[in-house]
Amino acid sequence: MRETRYSQTAMAIHWLVALGIIAAIAMGVYMVALPMSPARLKLFNWHKWLGVSILGLSVVRLVWRLTHRPPADLPMPIWQLRAAHVAHWVMYLLFFAVPLSGWAYSSAAGFPVVVFGMLPLPDLVPPAAPLAVVLKALHVTLAFSLGAVVALHVVAVIKHQLVDRDGILSRMNPWPIRNIEV
């Protein structure tokens, strides 16, 4: 029978990216409300570094996903399988679109991204204030969309785990409890 659990590598990247996305969204929401201060500036830079890290991990993740067969789906109604697959691919799209739109926004705002204060990234677009306004709106919209799809993803897992009791969580759990895996 085909494996129903993801590989250790896939799990490691999944949880790293999950933590990264939650932290980046929380930081983003918090930092924009701060008045101009060194703390605000620090958070903006950390947010950018985190975003670039998520982008890098997503490249590795996409390559891994395209070169490795994912585990077999659990038995469930076809519409749920379809919805889950669509949600997964939308998330993959947003793993790239959210950090790239943020990077472009930073470029347009006249702040080149310098990862960890050391590695300067090229500007994706030239500095231009009107473009910065558009890219900011795009970045925020895409980030909240990612947050919404992640929330849907989590709700679906909770429903399968607690209502359907199909042991879905063990697919992505590096330390599964044997008896619920059956």
Partner: protein
């Protein structure tokens, strides 16, 4: 009274015959900009409004005199947030110090088309002696003076209080200028 008028006439006639070394700044072709680092990120700003009195003869640099006045409130950044911050008391404190001035004390030749200007920079209530290498290039009727210098912002309390942390905003600020002057004698 009549003699006074005559004297004034004579004096002005005399002045017109004397070689004049005063130059006029062409603001549209001039720029004063600066760059500093914010957590490793280069940030650029410029001043939109500045004026100056220039009296310089390339043949007699020692006799030259330069006074440059910059309106601190004309500071411009790409980001409106940065611009809004820069005029505040912690930064340029535009309300209290609306102008910065550079007044030359000595100008000496330093090779073909190159000069070393030493002067007093008054910025945000602090006065420091600065040395500025200047290169002159002639483009038709215009002489373009270019150069730059590195300032330490904390010597002028630019970015005071919480902002004095140089790991956040570097102390060094690279200033660059390009001043287009008309009416300068040929070297």
């Amino acid at each position: 009274m009549k003699s006074l008028v005559r004297m004034a006439c004579c004096a002005s006639a005399l002045l017109a015959f004397l070689p004049s070394h005063a130059q006029k700044l062409e603001p549209a072709q001039s720029e004063i900009s600066f760059t500093f680092k914010q957590m490793g990120v280069p940030v650029e700003g410029r001043f939109a409004t500045f004026a100056g009195q220039f009296s310089f003869d390339p043949k007699k640099p020692e006799a030259g005199k330069v006074v440059l006045t910059i309106d601190t409130g004309s500071v411009r950044f790409g980001s409106p947030d940065t611009q809004g911050e820069a005029v505040k008391a912690e930064w340029f404190n535009v309300a209290k110090f609306p102008q910065a001035t550079l007044e030359s004390t000595t100008i000496v030749a330093a090779g073909a088309g190159k000069y070393d200007l030493t002067g007093k920079l008054s910025l945000k209530g602090a006065v420091r002696e600065v040395r500025v290498p200047v290169t002159l290039a002639r483009l038709g009727a215009i002489t373009v003076a270019t150069g730059g210098l590195t300032l330490k912002r904390l010597e002028f309390k630019i970015g005071d209080g919480d902002w004095s942390d140089t790991s956040m905003v570097a102390n060094e600020v690279q200033v660059k200028f390009k001043l287009a002057l008309s009416g300068m004698a040929a070297p």
